[in-house]
């Protein structure tokens, strides 16, 4: 492992360990530091986020294009391993501990008490992400129509999203 790859690995490991509450928590810090390192420009950072949206699985796959720009394919792999492996290890340990106690009186009470707060946080995410994702009336119309179709029909989400991507490629160039 060369120095650049090691640097990428350590950077993303630090970002992952700071990302309590999801990858978006460290987005600002990640953008500032990766641009300051000279790994990529701000425009390329937005393109990295777009790649994260286009790929399935956890949205934090946007770390891969950043790592790629920093140190090529080894950098991309170092970013993925650095961001996911330590946090997954910690998560696994804490989930195992939680599973051991979750049937007890207090954990059951905690779960039922905190559920509404989690739901409020989900709605807050809808609001905050919507403010940045929906940039104009057209995107609001698309999002609103899509949510109605999801609610009213049983169309598989991925089919609708792929259809929207195809239409966007044709009509929104």
């Amino acid at each position: 492992m060369d120095f650049a790859t090691l640097e990428v690995f350590l950077f993303f490991m630090r970002m992952g360990l700071l990302a309590w509450g999801g990858g978006q928590v460290v987005l600002g810090e990640m953008q500032r530091e990766s641009v300051a390192h000279g790994w990529l420009t701000e425009v390329q950072f937005l393109e990295a986020l777009a790649i994260g949206q286009m790929t399935p699985g956890p949205g934090s796959t946007f770390v891969i294009p950043i790592g790629y720009q920093a140190a090529g394919v080894p950098g991309a792999l170092a970013a993925a391993i650095g961001f996911f492996l330590p946090t997954v290890s910690i998560g696994l340990a804490l989930i195992s501990m939680w599973n051991h106690v979750r049937g007890s009186r207090w954990p059951v009470a905690i779960r039922e008490a905190v559920m509404p707060v989690v739901l409020g946080l989900v709605l807050a995410s809808v609001y905050t992400i919507g403010r940045t994702a929906l940039t104009d009336a057209t995107s609001m119309l698309i999002a609103g129509s899509a949510s109605l179709v999801f609610l009213r029909t049983s169309v598989p989400p991925v089919l609708l999203i792929l259809a929207a991507v195809a239409l966007g490629a044709i009509f929104f160039q």
Partner: protein, 243 residues
């Protein structure tokens, strides 16, 4: 025990939409405990059909066969585009396959919020442990993340190796808006899940206002409002339970 648990799984499994005919046939076959050859010794609440939505959480864990579990997670890992994968866990594992209940999903989200790293990954690991025990977390997570990691690597080479064509901008624009529509859908589907909690709707609004409108950090909201809600919904003293 493992076989018994698998029998429970087969008995409990409802007909999920899109399940193969073979799987449905297997689900409809009489199980050992049903035919009387092996009396069911598990507690009756060990695994219940998710259609019994009124059942409280912690009653849904059972044993899903490895191939079904891994294929479900591989499918999730291959289709959950849009940058927010957790809602796909809700639609696939709770609504489509009916392996879990909404409360399990919300519990997974809660863990995702309080653990470091991607919310979807923590939620996926937790739900895998609910479906097949602690050993399922890592293989399920691998199925869930590897397709995306491979595709992100390929797209990185393509996007940064050449100028982006104009059609790609349009595709990303509609992808972003439609994926956000899916996010709205998942949030709406979760709304009825707070009825059991005392002052649940107030907590929902409070968390939304604090984190969404006032931009208070996530952890203070979880600890502050969650602690207050726990105070209101604390378990009854043990003496009272026996009465």
């Amino acid at each position: 025990m493992g076989h018994q648990a698998a029998s429970v799984y087969r008995r409990a499994r409802v007909r999920p939409e899109g399940t193969s005919t073979g799987a449905i046939r297997r689900a409809e076959q009489p199980t050992r405990e049903a035919s009387g050859s092996a009396p069911l010794s598990l507690p009756p609440t060990e695994y219940r059909p998710a259609m019994e939505a009124a059942q409280p959480v912690a009653h849904t864990s059972g044993i899903v066969p490895w191939p079904d579990l891994l294929l479900a997670y591989l499918k999730l890992g291959a289709i959950s585009i849009g940058g927010r994968s957790a809602p796909y866990l809700l639609t696939e594992l709770v609504e489509r396959r009916r392996w879990l209940q909404k409360e399990d999903f919300l519990e997974g989200l809660l863990l995702g919020y309080v653990l470091p790293g991607p919310v979807g990954a923590s939620c996926a690991m937790f739900l895998a442990t609910r479906l097949r025990g602690p050993r399922a977390a890592v293989p399920a997570l691998a199925m869930y993340t590897l397709p995306g990691i491979a595709l992100a690597l390929v797209l990185s080479v393509l996007v940064f190796g050449m100028p982006r064509p104009p059609w790609a901008n349009g595709a990303i624009y509609t992808l972003s808006a439609t994926a956000f529509g899916f996010f709205i859908y998942a949030a709406v589907r979760l709304l009825p899940g707070t009825r059991k909690t005392r002052l649940g709707p107030v907590m929902v609004v409070g968390a939304f206002v604090a984190h969404g409108l006032l931009a208070v950090d996530l952890l203070p909201v979880l600890i502050g409002l969650g602690g207050f809600s726990l105070l209101l919904n604390r378990p009854a003293p043990r003496q009272a339970e026996g009465e």
